[in-house]
């Protein structure tokens, strides 16, 4: 793991430079943004399509309330519509439509960041462990730990669904609290319930809104069925729910020594659920939603977190908007839900080891695999995955955060830039091994080897994620540093250069280093010749400690 001292030092250095460069105007970006209409929830071209109302929290000169840490109180929301996003649509749009659009559009930096590159608290996000150290108890508590379903009283099954493999129930406990009760796949006990709970705790500590998730044990006689309860089969057809049906669903489930079944109980989120949020555009019926989602740093940076936890199913459908009322003001809160497909779990089975390394549709890799007659063997194929109860196929040997892939493209992930990666890397670096172990223990693994393994793997993954984030940030920040330095001392005040933003590096950006280089060269050709990063450090005679740190980082 990265020590806090290292992280603070690195963060300070990089932040200072990023801040200095970020204080200018991004006129190009503004112009682009102003030409775009509010996207609503529709999915127009994604990158650079800032809403006309879009707020760039850090853009422009200093304001008296900079850096802004908390967004203003939300306006009241009325007449919101429940949104549904189809699985197939999301897959098709994100896999085939959005990437093509992104190719031709100008990219913009994240917009909801303050002048020190952080994300202000809002209905989307709250600064937690990265900014204020949470205690181990707080980390274990996550979104809440005081309201698990009452283990000694009956649970009334309100409804159920079964996709033919793993049923789920909606239950109400004796206190009137409602939960979604999800069973583990019968052949893989503890697999998805542990992943779901651990994921929720970590994401909460990272700052996201999450539901309260619990690992629970229950006896068969605790489940009662009301006469009007229905269950829905995988075709969506509803049937009357009977005791016999529940018995059948539980028939293959393993039981502990006390005869209890294990499940994950996710407490219903407060407020009225109004469907998932889109990963790009804004909600046209929410006045508080003024930053296009693809330009939200917490959604872009989520790529680092998702990679770290192998949360391959991070997508719109695993989010939820809820209409809540606080102090008499109704507004929308945005939640991340469902981590059943994180760590080594894929909800219904251990995760296919390909997941996280390739998109489902990945033509180049697929062609290579096909043409090589199977002799092309990437590292993840050669890695040993220990068979420990509940851990599935979670490993760290093959983990490559830079080349990590969700199941299919997600717009904010595709738009993540160096600054977003750096922001996320800092958050990951903030966790110590003890804190990671505390998270893993909330998964309720019965085999201590599982706790050790998942802790080790997540710890190693955290280090790699942080390194990759810092590596990306380093490339960007050295440029920023140079620009800042040059502007204060030797920046030539020619018309050409003066009209260009000092944060032009935040302009059009390609994902490959080779593709980025010509753009920087273009600037140097116009304004001045930039030295290579190594030259800068030689010139500035960086102290040995910093050099060592940089060597380690890069």
């Amino acid at each position: 793991m990265v020590s806090r001292k290292q992280s603070v030092l690195t963060a300070s250095l990089l932040l200072g430079a990023a801040y200095a460069a970020g204080a200018g105007d991004n006129k190009a970006g503004d112009k682009k943004a102003s030409n775009k209409k509010d996207a609503g929830v529709s999915r127009p071209a994604s990158a650079g399509r800032a809403s006309s109302n879009a707020v760039v929290v850090s853009r422009g000169k200093f304001r008296s309330d900079d850096p802004l840490w908390v967004e203003p109180k939300p306006l009241a929301v009325r007449n919101v519509k429940t949104i549904e996003i189809g699985d197939l649509y999301d897959f098709v749009a994100q896999s085939f439509v959005t990437p093509r659009q992104l190719k031709h559009e100008k990219r913009t930096p994240a917009q909801n960041v303050n002048t020190v590159g952080e994300v202000p608290d809002s209905q989307w996000y709250a600064n937690r462990h990265g900014l204020h150290t949470m205690t181990l108890d707080e980390l274990r508590r996550g979104a809440g730990s005081a309201n698990p379903p009452d283990p000694d009283r009956p649970w009334k099954v309100i409804s159920a669904k079964s996709d033919g493999v793993m049923p789920g129930f909606h239950i109400e406990d004796s206190h009137g609290n409602r939960y979604l009760l999800k069973l583990d796949p019968a052949d893989y006990p503890e697999l998805s319930s542990a992943a779901d709970v651990i994921g929720s705790k970590i994401y909460y500590a990272l700052g996201y809104n999450t539901p309260e998730n619990y690992v629970v044990y229950f006896r068969r006689d605790q489940l009662t069925v009301s006469e009007e309860s229905l269950w829905r089969d995988r075709m969506g057809k509803e049937h009357m729910l009977s005791v016999k049906q529940i018995d059948e669903w539980l028939a293959d489930q393993p039981r502990d020594s006390k005869g209890r079944y294990r499940a994950m109980a996710s407490r219903w989120i407060d407020g009225k659920p109004i469907g998932p949020f889109n990963m790009d555009g804004t909600r046209s019926d929410d006045p508080n939603d003024v930053v296009p989602h693809e330009n939200r740093r917490e959604l872009r940076g989520m790529r680092v977190f998702a990679a770290w936890l192998n949360d391959t199913d991070a997508k719109s459908i695993n989010t939820l908007d809820s209409l809540v009322t606080k102090n008499g003001v109704p507004f929308i809160e945005h939640f991340r839900i469902d981590w059943g497909a994180s760590l080594g779990s894929d909800s219904l089975r251990p995760k296919d080891i390909r997941r996280g390394h390739d998109y489902i549709i990945s033509p180049k890799t697929n062609a290579l695999q096909a043409a090589s007659f199977g002799f092309y063997l990437p590292k993840w194929m050669r890695t040993h995955y220990p068979k420990i109860r509940g851990t599935g196929t979670f490993d760290y040997e093959s983990f490559d955060p830079v080349n990590w892939h969700s199941n299919y493209p997600v717009t904010p992930f595709m738009l993540m830039d160096e600054d977003d990666a750096f922001w996320a890397a800092k958050k990951v670096m903030a966790f110590s091994n003890d804190e990671l172990r505390a998270f893993v223990e909330t998964g309720g693994y019965t085999d201590t080897r599982a706790v050790d393994w998942v802790t080790t793997a997540s710890s190693s993954g955290a280090t790699r994620s942080a390194r990759s984030g810092l590596r990306r940030a380093w490339r960007s920040t050295t440029s920023a540093w140079k620009m800042a330095h040059s502007r204060s001392t030797i920046w030539p005040r020619s018309t050409t250069c003066a009209s260009r933003s000092p944060i032009a590096f935040n302009g059009p950006r390609s994902t490959t280093r080779a593709a980025r280089r010509p753009r920087l060269t273009g600037m140097t050709g116009t304004c001045r010749t930039w030295a290579r990063p190594a030259d800068i450090w030689q010139r500035r005679s960086a102290p040995p400690a910093v050099r060592r740190l940089l060597r380690w980082v890069t």
Binding site: F62, D65, P72, K81, Y89, E248, D286, Q369, F373
Partner: protein
């Protein structure tokens, strides 16, 4: 830390003087929100989503894809029948424990089939099941090349095979993977001249001595049992484990009194994974051994056959007929993606008249390659191309060969 401070100092200085602003950042955000509040609108689904939703919600889509209710079915006919499709109706009863399916199929070569199938599962806490079916099919161009492995490709003839059969299979599953079951049924069979204009009818080409039963058909009462052990990880697309089955059936001639026989079918599949199951060696062996008593004969249309999409893939469908058969297959399968798998395969097999001729030395062989498109539950369809000394065959099927 000095460098840290210096960096910050440079950063701050480089931004120039910090001017007090008239508006705050909060004002700016509130202004943007207020502006948006003036033009709120109800969210609209994107065009693509509306289009996909429209397709998925359409009657035609449901008809094509539904597995419950009325729908359209494809395939599930014998190799060589051509493209086949037809209506299918499925209904789940008894809280999901009984599933009934009725179907009709017609192919481009005018093969017809139809029937009702039922499956009663989850009996006795999931330890018992009962399958039953009543089917009728009419295959007007069944190929017949003569008996034995010495038959010639040029000896192709065809005949019509009509069969009406009912079957019932009660089964017990005492432990996971192990199934013990009984087989019972009735078959009414009619054989006649084939309808293919390019081939001679089998009754003109082969004598009753060469093709027993060609001049007289009979009905059968069947009974037997089977034992099966299945420990494959995913039955629809296995990468690990195996499946072993032994089945013994008595076919009792009800009419002619000279075509009764016994048949033992042994079938074994083994899947050897490597590189975390992304590469698999799949092995399959099958033998059908028939026995007759008291000078009884096995009608040619009841004999085991080889050649087709699932066995000797480099040969035409039903290329070899005889009383007994043996088949060995091996495939090397490698995943190109999560949904595409490729395979290199080799098949060897033979038919023979007497048990004593059983051997693995003189096999008809073929080899080839295939591509399979998979989903979560298994192979959706595959395209295999097999090569043999008789030419090549291309197979489009909706299952794994084994």
């Amino acid at each position: 830390m000095q460098w840290n401070k210096l960096g910050l100092a440079i950063a701050v200085l480089s931004t120039g003087p910090v001017w007090a602003q008239d508006s705050t950042r909060t004002d700016e955000i509130e202004s943007a929100r207020a502006k948006k509040e003036q033009k709120l609108s109800s969210p609209r689904d994107p065009g693509l989503e509306r289009a996909i939703g429209g397709i998925q919600g359409s009657w035609a889509y449901r008809f094509l894809t539904s597995t419950d209710g009325l729908g359209l079915g494809f395939g599930e006919m014998i190799p060589g029948a051509g493209f086949s499709t037809g209506p299918r109706y499925s209904k789940t009863l008894l809280d999901g424990r009984l599933r009934l399916t009725g179907y009709l199929r017609s192919s481009t070569k005018r093969y017809y089939t139809g029937g009702i199938q039922g499956s009663l599962t989850h009996l006795w806490n999931g330890h018992a099941a009962l399958d039953f079916s009543a089917d009728h099919f009419d295959y007007p161009q069944m190929p017949y090349y003569g008996p034995g492995s010495e038959s010639r490709k040029t000896g192709r003839s065809d005949y019509r095979l009509e069969k009406t059969e009912t079957q019932i299979h009660p089964a017990l599953r005492p432990v996971k993977g192990l199934t013990l079951g009984l087989l019972g049924g009735f078959q009414a069979i009619n054989v006649g001249p084939g309808t293919a204009s390019e081939y001679i009818s089998s009754d003109h080409q082969y004598t009753p001595a060469q093709a027993p039963g060609i001049e007289q058909q009979t009905d059968y009462l069947t009974g037997g049992g089977f034992v099966q052990f299945d420990w494959r990880d995913r039955p629809g697309d296995p990468t690990e484990g195996g499946k072993y089955r032994a089945e013994y059936t008595k076919f009792s001639d009800l009419d002619a009194g000279r075509y009764s026989f016994y048949q033992l079918n042994l079938d074994a599949s083994e899947y050897i994974p490597f590189f975390n199951g992304k590469r698999v060696i799949a092995l399959h062996g099958r033998t059908s051994l028939s026995d007759t008593r008291n000078s009884q004969q096995i009608p040619f249309y009841m004999q085991p056959t080889l050649g087709g999409a699932d066995d000797l893939r480099g040969y035409r469908p039903f290329r070899f007929y005889d009383d007994n058969s043996v088949l060995v297959q091996a495939e090397y399968r490698w995943e190109a993606s999560g949904v595409v798998e490729l395979a290199l395969f080799a098949d060897g097999g033979n038919v023979f008249h007497d048990w004593s001729q059983w051997n693995l030395r003189h096999l008809e062989t073929d080899y080839g390659f295939g591509i399979r498109f998979k989903g979560d539950t298994g192979v959706h369809f595959r395209l295999d191309t097999g090569f043999s000394h008789e030419g090549f065959q291309i197979w489009f099927r909706v299952n794994n060969p084994f």
